[in-house]
């Protein structure tokens, strides 16, 4: 089976903090990592390859340093990797990103299954997976928590719903986005790390993908961020004094005022 895994390099958001003084993100020393959900996508792809043979390729759209993430993917066992990078791609919303990745995947070659992580932990939209499926005109299932069966022409999967799961069958080629419940990602291997060090990762830009400038990046985006602000914090830090009865009474009043109870 030929598998393509889409990955994204993201900042490790759990260590991103808001500076108390300037009320902005403190990005110093924040590590860049492979989006955690994409790790599950890579692992699932590797497991399918181990069972059925074939190739697994990783692709990512990002700035030049996203190449590190692709190399890391190779260290887990991915066969080859491709970086879609161009100044023109910058500022893309999920629509422009989906178009770009779809073109990139087409350029890699024929595929049976595309696997994406459910969402990226910086954007949290979960839109790119379905967007890519749309641009490639292939069926997809989102939030897959288990692949039940893989046949020659279709796959059966379990889609996680809010109150249980649905069992879906879709024809190949297709795309799935996966959730953490699907597997446990492996550690990299030394041989993988050595391969990752030396492997050639092609970088494709606007011209390579044969895509119009108006379809990618900021220009190709339908949405636009017009404001960024820090959310109202709980940190009013009011210590409630008095006897236990008083404290409890004060607390309940405050909570009622804020309409949280």
């Amino acid at each position: 089976m030929n598998i393509v895994v889409c990955i994204k390099q993201v900042p490790e958001t759990t260590s991103v903090k808001i500076s108390k003084d300037t009320n902005t993100l403190m990005r110093e020393g924040v590590k860049s990592i492979i989006n955690p959900f994409d790790m599950y996508a890579i692992e699932e792809g590797l497991r399918i390859k181990e069972r059925f043979g074939g190739r697994i390729s990783a692709v990512s759209m990002g700035p030049p340093q996203a190449e590190e993430a692709l190399r890391e993917a190779v260290s887990y066992g991915v066969d080859d990797a491709f970086l879609l990078s161009d100044r023109a791609f910058a500022g893309a919303d999920t629509l422009a990103t989906s178009r770009t990745l779809a073109k990139g995947i087409k350029k890699i070659g024929s595929f049976d299954l595309i696997i994406c992580g459910k969402q990226a932990i910086d954007g949290d939209t979960a839109q790119v997976g379905p967007g890519i499926a749309e641009k490639l005109d292939i069926p997809f299932v989102a939030f897959v928590r288990k692949i039940r069966e893989i046949g020659n022409h279709s796959i059966k999967v379990e889609r996680m719903m809010d109150d249980g799961y649905d069992v879906m069958e879709i024809t190949l080629p297709s795309l799935i986005t996966v959730v953490k419940e699907i597997n446990e990602p492996r550690m990299p291997s030394l041989r993988g790390k050595m391969k990752a060090k030396s492997i050639d990762i092609p970088t494709w830009g606007l011209a390579d993908l044969e895509i119009g400038e108006d379809k990618v990046g900021l220009k190709g985006s339908a949405t636009q961020v017009i404001k960024v602000f820090t959310p109202k914090r709980g940190g009013r830090r009011e210590m409630l004094e008095g006897s236990v009865e008083t404290q409890v009474g004060l607390l309940i009043n405050r909570l009622n005022d804020l309409k949280v109870v």
Partner: protein, 388 residues
Amino acid sequence: MDYFLTENQMMIKELARQIADQRIMPVRAELDEKEEFPWEIIKVLADSDLMGLCYPEEYGGLGGGTFENCLAVEEISRACIGVSVCYAGSGLGAYPILLFGSEEQKKRYIPDVAGGRKLAAFGLTEANAGSDASGIQTTAVLDGNEYIINGTKQWITGGGEAEIYTVIVMTDKTRGSRGASALIVEKGTPGFSFGKKEKKMGIRASATTELIFSNCRVPKENLIGREGMGFVVAMRVLDRTRPGIGAQAIGLCQGALDEAVNYARERRQFGKPIISFQAVQHILADMATQTEAARALVYSACRFIDSGAKDISKVSAMAKVFSSDVAMKVTVDAVQVLGGYGYMRDYPVEKMMRDAKILQIYEGTNQIQRNVIGQELIKEYAGKKEKK
């Protein structure tokens, strides 16, 4: 301090660290509590190619040396030396074959060990023969095409879990210390069984058992080298593996130091974090200095061994004795810094202190190490005197 590792060495260190952080740290307390052999972690180490780190490429390994092994063992030990002894102990069992075995023996046994599919173990110690290894009483009598082994080995790391055992046995009592030989015995061989698993103070994830031989027959092809080479094999192998104990020690020290410093930064008494008190700082400073000194010595010893040097006994013994003594002190200090919390089993340092003790005992007690160093000094300076 930067030890100027090569890119490959950095890779090994980072990978071992990742595995230590993500797979070993979360379960170390449970493994210690339940005295469970960490098979799942061994599998992760195998899948990540670390089990094969120091075996030649022709047998499926990665061709790394003592230093590479040390880097991996150090990072794993930072999380738990019970787990790292399961990892490194296999090397101890395989080294006799690797260093002295025939091509056939190497081809037969090493690939499985390098691939992490089987573990090896080394059997020398007996109830009456610890430091005085020459007092071993397990015998192997040649009968036609087979050796018949009788006797009991004690406190063997990996006992019951490993598949491949290299055992030192007496083949000719009349020749004294030249009458011992090294034999390979596989688990499941009739006449070969295991005693109960010992209940230990520390490294409780590791399995320590007796090896019981009762008319156990092995083909004569399982002899490593020639008859009579037994103790030479043992001593040479231990020279090579002692830095591994050093690596365990420095990893353990680092883990203990990390816990102590992190705790001291957060624990507040008298209105301040306790790390702001000089008394605490001095303890931590000594811990850190000793750890670094041990590390520098262990790394140097490894590099010296990897350079192909012949006379490695002294350096190897020094690395082991110094770092294990340091580890005992550093872990005791770590408990002290954590105070009451340090004594509680909910916190990791009491385990580290319990674990540390064995480093001063196994693979040659620290008293024996000092003997070795003493003997080497005598030889060395005798040589110098003659040169003049």
